[in-house]
Amino acid sequence: MLAWTIYLSFAGALACLLTPRDNPRATRAVAFGTALAGLMCALIGAMQFKPENGLEVITNVRWIPALGIDFSLAADGISVTLVLLTGIAAVAGVLFSWNVERRTNEFFAFFFALIGGVYGVFLSLDLFLLFVFYEIAIVPKYFLIAIWGSTRRDYAAMKLALYSFIGSGMVLIGMLAAYAVSGHTSFDLQALAQHSFAPEFQRWAFPLVFVGFAILAGIWPFHTWAPTGHSAAPTAASMLLAGVVMKLGAYGCLRVAMTLFPEGLKMWQHELAALAVTGIVYGALVALVQKDFKFVIGYSSVSHMGFVLLGLATLNEVGWSGAVLQMFSHGVIAGLLFAVVGRMVYDRAHTRELDALEGMGLARKMPFAAVTFVIAGFASMGMPGFSGFIAELQVLIGAWQAFPKLALLAGVGIVIGVVYTLKTTAQVFFSDKPASAEAHDHDHPLDPISVPERLGAALLIFCTVVIGLHPRLLLDLIVPSFKSPLFDGLRKVAGL
C-alpha cells in the first residue's frame, strides 16, 4: 500500500501536466485528488504496518543485475512516520496553493514530481534507488522557486539546486566507494550495513556521506541555502522545503551514513554535535534580528533542524527517536508557519517587512491568521501539549547523556527561540503602533481567509496537537525500528 504513494504521485504529476493550461480548476482538482489519495495510502499503510516486525519489505524486483541493483522498497517505523508527514505536507501544500493562477498545470507537475521523489527516498531499501529518488527531488525545487518564486528567486533557486547537487555528489562518492570496497556485489542497504568497513575507511567516508546528506538538512555552516531558498520560494514550495525536503537530508544521515558507517559516527560524534548545537544557537540568534518575516521562519528552521542532527549524534535510542519525532514535528509546524507567512500574510499584504507589517493591525483584519500563527508559534517554541515539546525534550535527554555541556547550550537555543517567536508574533499581529501615513493610505480591507486555507491550517494544527498530547502514536512506530538488523552495527557501537 505504501508503495502506491510513489506511483500515485508521479502519475499525478503527469496528469497535472496534461490538464489544459487555461483551466486551473481542473488542475487543482487533479492535484488535490492526488495528494489526498497519497495521504490515504500512507494512512492505510501505517495502520496495516506492524512495528514489531522491524523492517518490512514491500517490493523486491531485480532491476539492474549487472551491478547488483534491485528495485526494493521497504518500510520501518521511521519510514512510515515520514511518509505520513509527506502525505500531510502534500495535502496542505495543495490547499495553500489554491491561488496559483499562472501556469498552474506546470506548477503542480513539478510539485508532485518533488513529492514522488520524497516518498521514494523514505521507502527505498536499495541505496541506488534511494539516491535516484533523492536526485529526482532536486530539479523540481529549482523550477518551483525560479518560476513562481519572489525575492531574488533566480539566485535562491540556483543556490538551492547547486547545494543539493553538491551534497548528493558527496553522497555519490561515498556510496560508490562503499560499493567498490565491499566487493561490488550489491547496493542493498541491509547487505551494505552488515559489511564491516575498515575503520580507516569509515573515518573519511562517514563525514563525507553524512555531511552530503546534512547539507539538505541545513547543517551549519552549509545552511545558507535554506533561508534564501525558503523565502524566495512560493508558499507551497517553502512548506515542502522546510516540511519534507530538509527531512530527506536528515533521513539520509540516519538511514545511510549512520547504518553503513557506525564507527565513523563514533569517531565524529562530538564534532557533529558541536555543529548541530552551533546551528541551533546561531539559527535562533540570526532569526532574532531578521527584518523579513520569511527569513525569521527560515532561520528558525535551521535552528530546529539542529535538534534533529543533535539527536542523531547522541548515539542513544532516546536521542534517535527524539530526532525522528522532531523531523515529523518540525515538518508540520514549519509548514504551518510558512503557510501563515507566505499565503495568509504575504499574498494579501504584499510585503514581508516586519516594520511595514507592524502598522497594519493584522490581528484585527485577519484574526484567523493571527490565531493560527500564535498556535504555530507556541508549538514551535516547544510548549507542552504540542509535538515540538516532546520531540525536543527527548533530544535534550539523549544529548544530556552523551554531551551535557552541549545539551545546556541547546537549551539556551530554545530560550532564544521563545524570544524571537514572541517578538515576531507581537510585532506583526498585536502591535499598538499606529499605522504610518503611507500605510494608512493603503489601509483597505484584506481578502478574507479562504476555505482551503482554513482546511489546511486545521489539518496541520490537528497533527501537531494530536502528537503533542499522544506522542505514543508515533513513538510506538519509531522506537521498535531501531531493533531491526539494519541498525545492528549502530547498536553495537552505541553499546545498546
Binding site: W63, I64, P65, A66, L67, E106, F128, F131, V132, E135, I136, I138, V139, Y142, F143, A146, I147, D154, M158, A161, L162, F165, I166, G169, L172, I173, L176, A177, Y179, A180, V181, H184, A198
Partner: protein, 497 residues
C-alpha cells in the same frame, strides 16, 4: 582463395555493401531524376532512401548474426561489433531525418551520399582489428566529415570550421600513422591481438611509450579530448546542423569504440607502465587527459552564450568522462563506455534536434533565443529538459546511469586502494558545474518569458516525432538500463574479454 570465400566475405560485408549501394542510389536518383523539383521534395526523397538503406542494413545485421574473422583480422565480425554498427546506422538515420528541415545546400544527393559514405567508414572502423584498415577507414570517415562541415557554401563560418577541422585532423592523422609505424617496427605486425602478444614478450620499452603517445594524440583528436579539442567548438558552431549532429554522435561512438579497442586490446600489458625501465603506461596518461577534459570542458561551457558552443564544450567534458571508462577492468570498460557513448549520442542528437528548430524559427542559437520556449513549443521544451538533464546526469535519465556505471566500474578497478577515487571525485564535482550551465539554458526555456509578439513555433511533424522518440528513449534507458546493458556484456562475453 576460391569463390566460396568471396561469397562468405560478401555476406559478411553485406551491411556495408547495402549502405554503399544506397549512397550511389541516392546520388543517382537526385542527379538524374529530381533536378528541378522543389528542394524539400528532394530532401525528403533522399532522406527516405537513406533511411531505407540503413534500415535494410540493420535488418540484415539482426537476421544474419555472423561471427568470423577474415584476412587475419582485416574484417572481424562479432556480436559486439554488430551492436555498435546497428547504433551507428540508427544515428545516421536520425541525422538524415533531421537534415530534411535544414536548408543549407542545393547539392542534396551529394550531401546524403557523403553522409552514407562516412557511415560506411565508421562501420568498417569498428569491425577491424588491423592497424592499416583502422587507418584507412578513419581517413574515409575524416575526409567525408571535413566536406560535410564545409557543406554550407554560403557561410564563411562553415568554411572556416571545415578548414580548422581539416588542419587539425590532418596533423592528428600524421601522429596516428607515425605511432602505427613505430608499432609495426617494434612488433612486426599490424594485427592488434598479435601485436599485444608481441608486446607482452618485448615488455616495456621507451620506444613503445613514444608510439603510445602518438596513438593517444591521434585518437584524442578524434574524440575531442583536451588538449586536442580546439577544433570542436568552431566545428560545432560553423557546420551545418546535421553535420554537427553527426560529428557529435556517430563519429564519437565509432572513434571511442576503436580507441578503446586499440588501447585495451593492444596495450593491455602497458597499463601502468614500468617504473624500472622508465616507461609510462596509458593509465596515468589517460587519467590526466580525462581530468583536464572534464575541468576545461565544463568550466569553458559556463561562459558560452551560444548553445552550439555550449554543447561543444560539454562534448569535450563528456569525452573526459568517457575516458574514465577506459580505466575500468576488462569487460566493464567496454560495457560502461559503450553504454555512456550510446546514450550520450542519442541525447545529443535530441538536443541538436530542438536546437535546429529554434535556429530555423527564431533565427539563432544564442541563449536568449530560447526564451519562453516552454510557451512557444511546449513539447520540444520538455524534451529539451530531458536531454539536458540527462547530459547533466540527473536520474532517472540515461545520462545518470551512464555516469554512475562508469564511475562504479572505474572504482572497482584496483581493489581496496581505490586508485581512481580522485578522478571520480573530480568527475562528480564537475557534473555539479555542468548542472549550472544546463540550468542556465533551461532557465531561458522555462522561466524567462518570451516577447509579447512571439508566436508559437511551427514544428514539422518529422522533427517532432524524432525529438519525442529520443526523449522517450532517454527516459526509458535511464529507468531500464538493463535493456542496453544486457546486450553489451553478452556481446562482450562472447569475445571472452
Amino acid at each position: 582463395m576460391n569463390t566460396a570465400d568471396y561469397l562468405a566475405l560478401f555476406t559478411a560485408l553485406a551491411p556495408e555493401v547495402i549502405v554503399v549501394c544506397t549512397a550511389l542510389l541516392v546520388l543517382a536518383v537526385d542527379l538524374l531524376g529530381l533536378q528541378g523539383t522543389p528542394h524539400s521534395y528532394r530532401m525528403s526523397i533522399a532522406a527516405g532512401l537513406t533511411t531505407l538503406g540503413c534500415g535494410g542494413a540493420v535488418v540484415w545485421i539482426f537476421l544474419n548474426p555472423t561471427v568470423g574473422n577474415w584476412h587475419g583480422g582485416m574484417l572481424v565480425i562479432d556480436p559486439l561489433n554488430e551492436t555498435v554498427k546497428a547504433v551507428l546506422l540508427l544515428l545516421t538515420v536520425l541525422t538524415a531525418i533531421l537534415s530534411v528541415d535544414c536548408k543549407f545546400t542545393r547539392h542534396v544527393g551529394e550531401y546524403f551520399a557523403l553522409l552514407l559514405l562516412a557511415t560506411v567508414g565508421m562501420m568498417l572502423l569498428v569491425s577491424t582489428e588491423e592497424l592499416l584498415m583502422i587507418f584507412a577507414s578513419l581517413e574515409l570517415v575524416s575526409l567525408t566529415l571535413y566536406i560535410l562541415v564545409a557543406f554550407n557554401k554560403d557561410s564563411r563560418a562553415s568554411a572556416e570550421a571545415a578548414l580548422k577541422y581539416f588542419l587539425f585532423g590532418g596533423m592528428s592523422a600524421a601522429f596516428l600513422l607515425f605511432g602505427f609505424s613505430l608499432l609495426y617496427g617494434l612488433t612486426g605486425t599490424t594485427h592488434v591481438p598479435k601485436m599485444a602478444e608481441k608486446l607482452f614478450t618485448i615488455g616495456a620499452d621507451p620506444l613503445l611509450t613514444v608510439a603510445l603517445v602518438m596513438v593517444v594524440i591521434g585518437f584524442g583528436f578524434k574524440v575531442a579530448a583536451v588538449p586536442f579539442h580546439l577544433w570542436a567548438p568552431d566545428a560545432y558552431q560553423g557546420a551545418p546542423l546535421p553535420s554537427a549532429v553527426f560529428i557529435a554522435s556517430g563519429s564519437k561512438v565509432a572513434s571511442f569504440f576503436v580507441f578503446a579497442k586499440v588501447l585495451l586490446l593492444g596495450f593491455s600489458q602497458l597499463g601502468w607502465g614500468d617504473e624500472e625501465k622508465a616507461t609510462g603506461g596509458w593509465i596515468p596518461l589517460l587519467s590526466i587527459i580525462a581530468a583536464v577534459s572534464m575541468v576545461l570542458g565544463n568550466l569553458a561551457a559556463i561562459k558560452q552564450t551560444s548553445v552550439r558552443r555550449l554543447l561543444a564544450y560539454s562534448a569535450i567534458a563528456h569525452a573526459g568522462y568517457m575516458l574514465i571508462g577506459f580505466l575500468a577492468p576488462g569487460g566493464d570498460a567496454f560495457g560502461s563506455l559503450l553504454f555512456y557513448v550510446t546514450t550520450y549520442a542519442l541525447t545529443t542528437v535530441g538536443a541538436f534536434g530542438v536546437l535546429g528548430v529554434v535556429e530555423s524559427q527564431v533565427g539563432g542559437d544564442q541563449l536568449k533565443d530560447f526564451a519562453g520556449l516552454a510557451r512557444r513549443a511546449p513539447v520540444l521544451a520538455w524534451c529539451l529538459m530531458v536531454f539536458l538533464l540527462s547530459l547533466a546526469g540527473i536520474p532517472p535519465l540515461a545520462g545518470f546511469f551512464g555516469k554512475f556505471y562508469l564511475f562504479a566500474a572505474a572504482l572497482t578497478n584496483g581493489g581496496h586502494h581505490l586508485p581512481f577515487l580522485w578522478l571520480v571525485i573530480l568527475g562528480i564535482a564537475m557534473s555539479c558545474v555542468s548542472l549550472y550551465y544546463y540550468l542556465q539554458v533551461l532557465k531561458q526555456v522555462f522561466v524567462v518569458e518570451a516577447d509579447e509578439n512571439a508566436r508559437p513555433l511551427v514544428v514539422s511533424s518529422l522533427s517532432r516525432v524524432v525529438v519525442v522518440l529520443l526523449a522517450v528513449v532517454t527516459v526509458l534507458l535511464g529507468c531500464m538500463p538493463g535493456w542496453l546493458l544486457d546486450t553489451i556484456p553478452t556481446a562482450i562475453g562472447e569475445r571472452g574479454w
